[in-house]
């Protein structure tokens, strides 16, 4: 266990809308739980499930102070960091967002982060499942 109770933030979990008010995805805030800032190219995986529904790798974007990138884009970015303690925005591009008409106040968010840490044979992995309040 390392910083895991701080990984998924209580605020910032909501649908994402386009200029016409249509849902185009959802977002939440998370911190990395590894004890160094993370070189973006070390992010091997970031999996997201909401109430058990898992999204595809291609649907995921990560926004840090360095910008917004897909997981594939980050594989070539060793010089850019997701800073230690920095709350990054995870965006999941999904036409239906968090589900039309689903107004449950709390949703089960299940997130796994895998990092390719050179000195650790299996790398670094953190997995947290938490009920997070869905903002309007």
């Amino acid at each position: 266990m390392l910083l895991e109770k701080y990984m998924l933030c209580d605020e910032g979990f909501h649908n994402l809308f386009d200029e016409h008010g249509e849902t185009r995805g959802f977002q939440f805030l998370m911190r990395s739980t590894y004890y160094r800032s993370v070189r973006l190219s070390l992010i091997e995986g970031l999996t997201v499930k909401v109430d058990g529904k898992e999204y595809r790798r291609e649907q995921i974007r990560l926004t840090t102070r360095e910008g917004t990138f897909s997981l594939d884009e980050m594989t070539t970015m060793p010089e850019l960091y997701w800073e230690f303690g920095e709350k990054a925005v995870v965006t999941v591009l999904e036409q239906d967002g968090l589900g039309r008409g689903n107004n449950e106040p709390y949703r089960k968010l299940d997130v796994t982060l895998n990092l390719r840490v050179s000195y650790a044979f299996k790398g670094f992995s953190a997995s947290v499942c938490k009920l997070v309040r869905q903002e309007c």
């Binding site: 160094r36 070390l42 840490v117 000195y119």
Partner: protein
């Protein structure tokens, strides 16, 4: 011996933004330490490659203002930067040069490396350590023991080349004489049974071999959570302090005084500093001993709730303990 603090000790406050970089430096100074150790990728990653002159000036200003000596820079061998290949030796040396140069600009004289650094790489890196006039210590940390083959070969390399640039960062986690209470309590919160926790602690103190403890737990009807507790405790080890030979002590560049918990009487509850520090002094160790408080991570399970351990208080207690132990030796004459 002089005392130092690694900013690893204040990681939670820094992570949560309760202390900024300067705030951490100030807390180290207030603890009474004379030196500081940092993890650039924790504390100042954006400056790690090509620090700006303004950043270097600010850092030097802090060292003067807070009366601290930059002691050790913790670096990591990131040879798996890309998913599809390892870095070549030349790329690794370039990265290493950049890391060492950063340390040198900030005034650090010791580089802390990891056991994952190949001995072949270290030999290739020796001229670079000479060029920058710094030393490098490879960290020896539990459950790795003093008899570990990697360190045997490292010692051979040091003797064969006659270099004074390479050595050891000795982490006192190898002298864990009681199972860390904070760790055991965390495993109990996660579902291990108290009766098993008590049994494991008792057997750890008796230095019972792990497979025997495992058999004992099985006889108690061990659950997966009970065995998870044993696995967590088995990361600790107790090396006989007498195994610290003169030849090993002579190769120590820095001592990491790992700590999981210091009680209100300024005593470490599980690491045998009371024996080891006088022993280091008796063998002529005069370098820095650096507090590396790591107990906070045992309060990071969701079951623990919002409780935050007071890292600054733990750090202050640990520094008072180190100063008491050092004062009790004759090494400062």
């Amino acid at each position: 011996m002089k005392t130092c603090v690694s900013l690893y000790s204040l990681q939670e406050m820094f992570y949560l933004g309760k202390l900024d970089f300067e705030g951490c430096v100030a807390a180290v100074s207030a603890s009474g330490a004379q030196g500081i150790e940092i993890l650039p990728e924790m504390n100042c990653c954006k400056q790690y490659k090509n620090p700006t002159p303004a950043f270097v000036e600010t850092w030097k200003g802090w060292m003067e203002k807070y009366h601290l000596e930059p002691v050790c820079l913790d670096i990591f061998p990131d040879y798996k930067l890309y998913a599809n290949r390892f870095l070549t030796l030349r790329e690794q040396l370039e990265m290493f040069r950049s890391n060492v140069e950063f340390g040198k600009k900030l005034g650090f004289s010791i580089i802390r490396g990891l056991r994952a650094t190949s001995l072949y790489f270290l030999e290739q890196a020796l001229p670079l350590l000479e060029e920058y006039d710094v030393s490098m210590g490879i960290e020896l940390h539990s459950p790795t023991r003093l008899s570990d083959p990697y360190f045997g070969k490292l010692f051979e390399l040091i003797e064969r080349t006659g270099t004074r640039r390479l050595g050891l960062v000795l982490d006192l986690s190898i002298f864990t004489n009681h199972a860390p209470g904070v760790l055991v309590r965390q495993e109990v919160r996660k579902g291990a049974r108290q009766v098993v926790a008590d049994y494991v602690c008792e057997q750890y103190d008796k230095r019972t071999p792990q497979d025997e403890i495992e058999r004992g737990i099985r006889q108690m009807g061990g659950t997966p959570k009970d065995f998870a507790l044993l696995k967590a405790v088995a990361h600790s080890c107790y090396e006989e302090p007498t195994n610290l030979t003169q030849s090993i002590v002579d190769k120590i560049k820095l001592v990491h005084a790992k700590s999981y918990e210091v009680d209100e009487n300024d005593r470490d509850t599980c690491i045998d500093c009371e024996t080891v520090i006088p022993m280091l002094a008796s063998k002529g160790y005069t370098g820095y001993i650096s507090t590396e408080y790591e107990g906070q991570r045992f309060f990071h399970d969701p079951e623990c709730g919002p409780f935050e351990v007071d890292e600054v208080e733990q750090l202050n207690r640990h520094q008072r303990m180190l100063k008491r132990l050092i004062a009790g030796t004759n090494s400062n004459r």
